[in-house]
């Protein structure tokens, strides 16, 4: 496999980075980087680390680069996770505390520890900001642990960007992907349909019952997408050969929380290099973050609408002759 870290890869322009991924020769990973500055979203770093763990230490190479951003990757723990020596010595300074380096999460205990450690590092000031970040991390990591069937679990990293006052989170796994995860309950014709269903409220691979099982109801991804929508931020999900990206919206523009993710303003990119697993990236702009309980009230209304819609599908119309 080959992957290239370009000059810039954030959620608004992540497509180029994804298109540059070459999944051929899955037993090795060759990484290269732009030779000046590399500015990337944590999702790109999490993806590379997930691929590195999949091929195993000793099967990863990082092409020598003069990029001035290499210390960033050292701080993010990329070389450590890939089993490579960077030779870079980091001088700690205040800003170094404003990100959460790459972490591998394989079980509930590691998930809880990560979330607890993450909050002080990201310097969140307001209660509802903490609630939002905990919520996003909790649900996304749990999804991977329960549904991805990835031996390496989830690879997660997060960063606070001071200028835009936002937190970006990236989670990648190399598990079975959305289509196979949904397949026990829903057969889908392609990855596009699988993504649409995975983001639909009340859809889970574990059951078709509207109330879910004792442990799953299919609300997690819908909720995460709704948080991004309500805060007018980017959200992306990539599985198989398809990526769905929720577009950022102007802060004051009125919006509707849609049941169908394809009714939200979005981009859908198909026929991408195949990612065996699932990748999620999200931005949370802190000064746009809604009061969390307000968001939940909107969510409750939309959920009820979704349940009514699904129930009405079962109703039989009277036959008039």
């Amino acid at each position: 496999m080959k992957i290239h870290l370009p000059n810039s890869a954030f959620l608004h322009n992540i497509d180029g980075f994804l298109k540059g991924f070459d999944p051929e020769n899955p037993e090795i990973l060759e990484i290269s980087a732009h030779n000046s500055w590399v500015f990337v979203h944590p999702v790109a770093v999490s993806m590379i680390a997930a691929l590195g763990l999949k091929v195993g230490k000793g099967n990863v190479s990082f092409e020598k680069s003069d990029s001035k951003t290499m210390p960033y990757f050292e701080r993010m723990g990329l070389f450590r996770m890939l089993g490579l020596e960077s030779g870079i010595i980091i001088e700690e300074h205040e800003e170094s505390g404003r990100f959460k380096p790459l972490t591998q999460i394989r079980n509930s205990s590691e998930q809880s520890k990560f979330i607890t450690d993450c909050i002080p590092l990201l310097h969140l000031e307001k209660e509802y900001q903490v609630q939002t970040i905990v919520y996003v991390l909790g649900e996304l990591l749990r999804n991977v642990i329960e549904h991805a069937k990835s031996p390496n679990g989830a690879i997660v990293s997060a960063q606070y960007f001071k200028e835009s006052n936002r937190i970006s989170i990236g989670i990648a796994d190399t598990g079975i992907g959305l289509r196979r995860s949904l397949s026990p309950s829903y057969s889908t014709k392609d990855n596009t349909e699988a993504i649409q269903l995975a983001l639909w409220p009340g859809i889970t691979g574990t059951t078709r019952r509207p109330g879910g099982t004792d442990e799953n109801v299919g609300a997690g991804l819908f909720f995460i997408k709704s948080i991004a929508r309500t805060n007018r931020d980017y959200f992306m999900i990539y599985s198989g050969d398809t990526m769905y990206k929720l577009h950022k919206a102007p802060p004051r523009k009125k919006f509707k929380l849609n049941i169908d993710p394809f009714k939200d303003k979005h981009a859908l990119v198909e026929h991408l290099p195949n990612w065996n697993g699932t990748v999620v990236g999200i931005d949370i702009t802190l000064d746009q973050t809604q009061e969390f309980d307000g968001l939940l009230r909107i969510f409750r209304t939309v959920w009820a609408e979704a349940v009514r819609e699904r129930k009405s599908e079962k109703y039989i119309s009277p036959n008039f002759i």
């Binding site: 749990r142 109330g211 004792d214 109801v217 609300a219 009820a304």
Partner: protein
Amino acid sequence: MTIINIFEKTGPFAENKDIAKEFRLNFIIPSIQRSEKVILNFDNVKVATQSFIHALISDVIQQKGRSVLNHIEFKSCNESIKAIIQIVASYVQESLDD
């Protein structure tokens, strides 16, 4: 009466479904079966995810019917936790009609 202090096991962030499942299987269901009132105390809990609340109470409502909510009290919930509990209680009850 059984009082379950959520914070003691979860800390401020109630997101671990395995803990919710333990509460449900080891305390909530046995107490309901003994016809005891259950108090779920969320004092000091700042965040609870929908997954956590679902794993905590959905199966209890599905097994025992909606009237079981008359025997469970949710104590010291902040507004967000209240909203999550209402969401879960609503959709589980709607599913009972199927």
